[in-house]
Each structure stands twice: as C-alpha cells, then as structure tokens.
C-alpha cells in the first residue's frame, strides 16, 4: 500500500502530504507517525499541507487526532503551509482545528518547535 513518507530532521519529524488525501492513507499516516515518534524519540512533528487543495471535516479531524496522539507521546505538532482558500473554507465549514498549532511555512514551524523545546528544557 502507498504510504506518506516521514522524514527525520534532528529531533523532529517532517511529513509532507503531497497526494490527494485518501482515507486509508490518512489512517496509515496516523499509525506510522505514532510509531516513529516513539522509535525516534521525536520532540516535535511538522505536517506540511501546502500541497493539499482541500481539507474536509474528515481530514481536519485526522490532523486533530494526529496532534492529540503526538501530544500524548510528548511531541508537539505544528501544521504548516495551509493555503488561504483552504483556511477560508475550513472556517466556513465550522472546523477550528482546536489544539493544533499552525505556522505559515516549514521554517516558521521549525522555529516554533525549537522555541517550545527550549521552554520545556528550562522548566
């Protein structure tokens, strides 16, 4: 079965969703990411959705679930690269992506993860 690749970048994992999000693919990503967060002791996960032309309620819920699973495994999730048209549509659809942090692009998302890791190590 086709799978979405998960890349390791230091302490973080990067997932770039580049295909039309298939339901089974979404489910597989959830399982794969949870496994990789533990295996790689990842501190954070970046999900790049800049190639996603739409996010419907199923996909939105999937992203929210991934963020919750990662948080449970002590990794922060940042969703990056949402297209403006997707953001407008999501709000009108009534999906707030609560509990999911967002950043404009991978660089900004990475900064966010590094900053929050710094805060945690000082605490």
């Amino acid at each position: 079965m086709e799978r979405i690749p998960i890349l390791r970048m230091g302490e973080f994992l990067l997932v770039t969703i580049q295909v039309d999000m298939h339901d089974r693919l979404a489910q597989a990503l959830q399982d794969d990411l949870a496994e990789r967060v533990v295996k790689d002791s990842a501190q954070g996960v970046l999900i790049d959705i800049s190639s996603m032309e739409i996010v419907d309620s199923f996909m939105g819920r999937m992203i929210g679930t991934i963020a919750m699973i990662c948080a449970t495994l002590d990794a922060q999730t940042v969703v990056v690269g949402m297209r403006p048209a997707v953001a407008i549509t999501l709000v009108e659809l009534g999906i707030a992506l609560e509990g999911v942090r967002t950043a404009l692009n991978v660089d900004k998302g990475m900064e966010l993860l590094v900053a929050s890791r710094g805060k945690r190590s000082m605490a």
């Binding site: 039309d20 339901d23 032309e53 419907d56 309620s57 549509t89 009108e92 659809l93």
Partner: protein
C-alpha cells in the same frame, strides 16, 4: 435554466471520493470559478460524497453545468438507497453525528454553497443537491 452537460460517477469506495473531488474541480475550473469558489465546492462535494459512501452504503453523484440567464452554475446531486435520515432538521445541526465524522457534513456543506436541497425517506434513501453559481 438549461443544463449544458452532465456526467454520473459512482460513490462506493474511498477511491471514488478522490475521483469525485477531481471531477468537481475540473468542472469548477471550466466554469471559471475563482480558487476560493473551487475550494468550497470541492470541499462540499467531499463531505457529501463521504456521507453517501458511509451512511448511505454507496450511491451516485450527478454533476451538471447550468446556464440561467447568462449565469453559470455547477449542480451536484448525491443519491443513495441507504437507510435514510429520520430527522433532517436534527441531521443539519452541527453537533449531530451518526457515524464517525464531526457531524458537520450536512450543515457545513450547506454553508459552502448557494443552494442546498435535501430529501430523505427512511428505508428508501437520501438525495442531496447543491448548487454554486459563478
């Protein structure tokens, strides 16, 4: 109002959902919809097609391009022969869910289009029609 052309797609599997999104996008582009308009229509189509597949046990989508006094539109009609919806008003509310979604399928899709019609009979099936005008 005239119907310029139409096509019918099956909605049975998650692969069909991908095809529904692609066909909707292609027609929206052909009609000159803006990027935001395309995105709203494709998202609404994805929500409703998933309902047809999950709750209706599969069905069909009819895509039609419309012309009404020089105004161009795209109409999508989703039809299934599933269990039907006993209380449509309740199903339209955002908090309602009968499956594994957020319960936003119907109410959310309605907000993304210009016209929304639904008819359902328990034991016979459900038909949802949405239209977006350029």
């Amino acid at each position: 109002m005239t119907i310029n052309n139409y096509e019918i797609l099956p909605i049975k599997s998650p692969d069909d959902l991908v095809r529904v999104r692609q066909a909707t996008r292609a027609l929206a582009i052909q009609l000159g919809f803006s990027l935001v308009e395309q995105t709203k229509m494709v998202t609404a189509a994805s929500e409703l097609a998933r309902n047809t597949m999950t709750f209706g046990g599969g069905g069909t989508l009819r895509l039609e391009t419309l012309l009404d006094n020089g105004r161009k539109g795209l109409r999508l009609t989703f039809e299934d022969h599933g269990p039907g919806i006993p209380d449509i008003d309740l199903a339209m509310t955002d908090a309602y869910t009968s499956g594994n979604g957020l319960g936003l399928g119907l109410g959310g899709a309605k907000r993304l289009v210009n016209e929304f019609e639904i008819s359902s009979r328990v034991g016979e099936g459900t038909r949802v029609s949405i239209t977006r005008w350029k």
